[in-house]
């Protein structure tokens, strides 16, 4: 009776919030429900945890959750998922409130929970899904986590033999979780034509999660992601020939496709990180007995959660936005690499920011820009960047300093000691080149979008198969 009453309240709260704004109500109903009834989550019915998937890790959680949801639907099944990124316990409970009847019966075949790494133990305790997908464990949110091992230990304590884990074969920390689970399926990718190496004198890799010796990469497809081997204990990527490894091969960014388990697939958004997301999704579909050909086919019309990568027509220019996360070297590197795939002349507007701009509620704010020293700017600088606009109210000189260490000609740099859209776009307006990449935080880009839409900008239809490099070719 108590559950029914709380469910009624939570559903009413959700409906009210949605009346005001359809994008909201992804967290608050769960918060209310758990406040009123702490064991609320124990009363849901018709949940088959064998058909539950929890997606966690540092980077790519939201995208993989969205892709998985899309794929399951393409296979003719139904799924509940917290697609809007409310990835803590309240968000997970809100998702079930949304997808259950008033009596708490889940209406879908599957459920997918995107789980914040720190919230993973709590979410798993509430919803012990059989399938756990760990995208990667990278340096992320150091203001909260300090070091990757902090998150690694949190996950390690929760991974158990009842689980089937989906781990990244090319990312050492993720791959090492296979040891602690009952069953492991590896996803990954064969060497890209665009693969790179870390063999420069000042290049660094990472410690082995098992023995802390040096990890050596045969090649890297993404930052700290590639075929690896520990120089101490021998822990290594699994051979792609093993039947529990589902890896993308024949990846072709020119045509935007790859092959997974013999199935030809379109790479959504044609970005390197998406190949890993795709193989992860298809590995889950395959293990759940879904038709991976249908799932792969469905990727042709997959539209990602807004804001990760966008193209906007602005005056005579095409603005291409690639998201980077605060204090996250891998996402900065991926953004740089994605822009570097475009070999045509371009302007780069690079805005590293203070923590205040990302999360005003996380205090104290600070000006950390270390992650720029973990990223390699050379591929971008060698790809035809005519000018780099370094913008930020407080850390613009740090960006310039970083580029100076990369040997960038000072004439190519413009310093804007402001984060204001009008200042940044005044600099962009002056450029002759019409091909403009903006690499900054999503929150900053959202501010910019308000400005550019006021200036009669036109968003280019978010077409998954039109990659950034493809787009620049036909413009």
């Amino acid at each position: 009776m108590r559950f029914f009453a709380v469910m009624l309240i939570a559903k009413s709260v959700r409906a009210l919030i949605r009346l005001i704004d359809k994008q909201r109500g992804t967290d608050f109903p769960g918060r209310i429900a758990l406040k009123l009834y702490p064991n609320f989550n124990l009363n849901f019915k018709n949940i088959n945890h064998d058909k539950g998937i929890i997606v966690t890790g540092s980077n790519g959680k939201s995208t993989v959750t969205n892709m998985l949801y899309h794929s399951i639907k393409e296979c003719g099944c139904t799924a509940a998922a917290n697609l809007a990124g409310s990835n803590m316990i309240n968000g997970a409970v809100s998702m079930f409130i949304e997808n259950c009847t008033i009596f708490g019966k889940l209406k879908t075949d599957y459920y997918i929970i995107e789980a914040d790494e720190r919230s993973f133990p709590l979410i798993y305790k509430a919803f012990p899904a059989k399938n756990i997908l760990i995208t990667n464990i990278m340096q992320d949110q150091v203001h909260r986590n300090g070091e990757p091992d902090f998150i690694y230990q949190i996950l390690k304590k929760t991974i158990n033999k009842n689980m089937r884990v989906f781990v990244n074969n090319d990312e050492p920390r993720s791959a090492s979780f296979a040891e602690y689970a009952g069953e492991a399926v590896y996803f990954g990718a064969d060497k890209f034509a665009e693969a790179f190496y870390k063999n420069g004198f000042t290049d660094v890799t990472l410690p082995c999660p098992i023995c802390s010796s040096k990890i050596e990469f045969e090649f890297l497809n993404l930052s700290n992601t590639g075929r690896f081997k520990c120089s101490g204990c021998g822990f290594a990527s699994e051979s792609l020939s093993k039947d529990f490894v589902i890896a993308a091969s024949d990846t072709d960014f020119e045509n935007g496709n790859c092959t997974v388990k013999g199935t030809s697939c379109v790479i959504p958004y044609n970005m390197p990180s998406m190949v890993y997301n795709l193989s992860a999704v298809l590995a889950v579909c395959d293990s759940l007995g879904l038709n991976i050909e249908k799932a792969a086919e469905g990727m042709k019309n997959f539209i990602n959660v807004a804001g990760r990568a966008e193209t906007i027509k602005y005056k005579d220019k095409t603005i291409k936005y690639i998201r980077m996360k605060q204090e996250n070297p891998e996402t900065l590197q991926d953004a740089l690499n994605a822009a570097a795939l475009d070999k045509t002349p371009k302007i780069i507007a690079l805005g590293l920011c203070t923590l205040k701009e990302r999360r005003p509620e996380w205090q104290p704010h600070y000006t950390n820009t270390y992650y720029a020293y973990e990223s390699d700017f050379k591929p971008l600088l060698n790809s035809g960047a005519e000018k780099i606009i370094c913008f930020s109210e407080y850390v613009c000189y740090d960006i310039v300093n970083r580029l100076k260490y990369e040997g960038v000609d000072q004439d190519k740099l413009e310093i804007i000691d402001s984060d204001k859209a009008e200042d940044v776009f005044a600099a962009i307006d002056k450029c002759v080149c019409r091909n403009v990449y903006i690499i900054t935080l999503m929150s900053k880009m959202n501010e910019f979008k308000k400005y550019i839409y006021k200036n009669k900008a036109k968003k280019v239809k978010n077409e998954p198969n039109k990659s950034f490099m493809g787009l620049s070719r036909y413009l």
Binding site: T202, T205, L206, S212, G232, P364, A372, Y373, V395, N401
Partner: protein, 257 residues
Amino acid sequence: MNQINLLWAYPDIFNLHGDRGNILALMRVSSLMGITLKIERVENFSDDIDFENTDIIYVPPSETLSALRCAEVLLKRRSHFEEYINRGGLIFVVGTSMAVFAVSTLRRDGSVYEGLGLADVTLKELRSAYTNDEVFITDKFGDHMELVGCQIQMLKADVKKGQQLGRKLYGYGNCKGEYEGVCLNGFIQTNLLGPALVKNPWFAEGILKTAAARKGIVFERNRHEDYTLERKSNERIKSFIRLKQKGPDATRLDNEE
């Protein structure tokens, strides 16, 4: 010959916070100072260290677990490190890697790990990371020097009086008190990140000058560099700090162990 030999300890394992940038800064600053800087990497904890031909051992920040595993291996060679310092060698350590050289580290789970004890410092793991900007001053390199950067602090350090590197103006420092870092005979540690030597090239000069003096090298500066960009950067960051000091998170240093 004005050559300083630097050993870069475990760069792939002690890989946090972009501190390979400190190596780039040392390369640049040594060139400006007219010093030939020869850098060698040592990759794994069990690899031999050529103490005889090393003037600076640079130890970048690491994950706590890696530092403790390192200490376990290096304890067998503790006397080599002592001899190295007594002979005039310099060890420069950043951040959490202090756990290698401290007397002991108390982890959150209550376990205690022994370090080399080269500095009379005990460490205690914080409940979660403490992060903030940091500003401190030091006179350990001759001139009065202001250093600006940030901190991502995982360990609280209890450093004996008189052994600190500098006096904190803003941030957490060693343990929320008024001091920052460690400076003993031949041993320098800072919690400052950024990377610290990129943001404060005068700090890199101080490290190189100290190593040169300990080696008995006399050098003349090649050309004058006023580090305009770095000074502008630090002024911006200090203006951000001033803004914070007016706001609610002015001196929020409440992330206790």
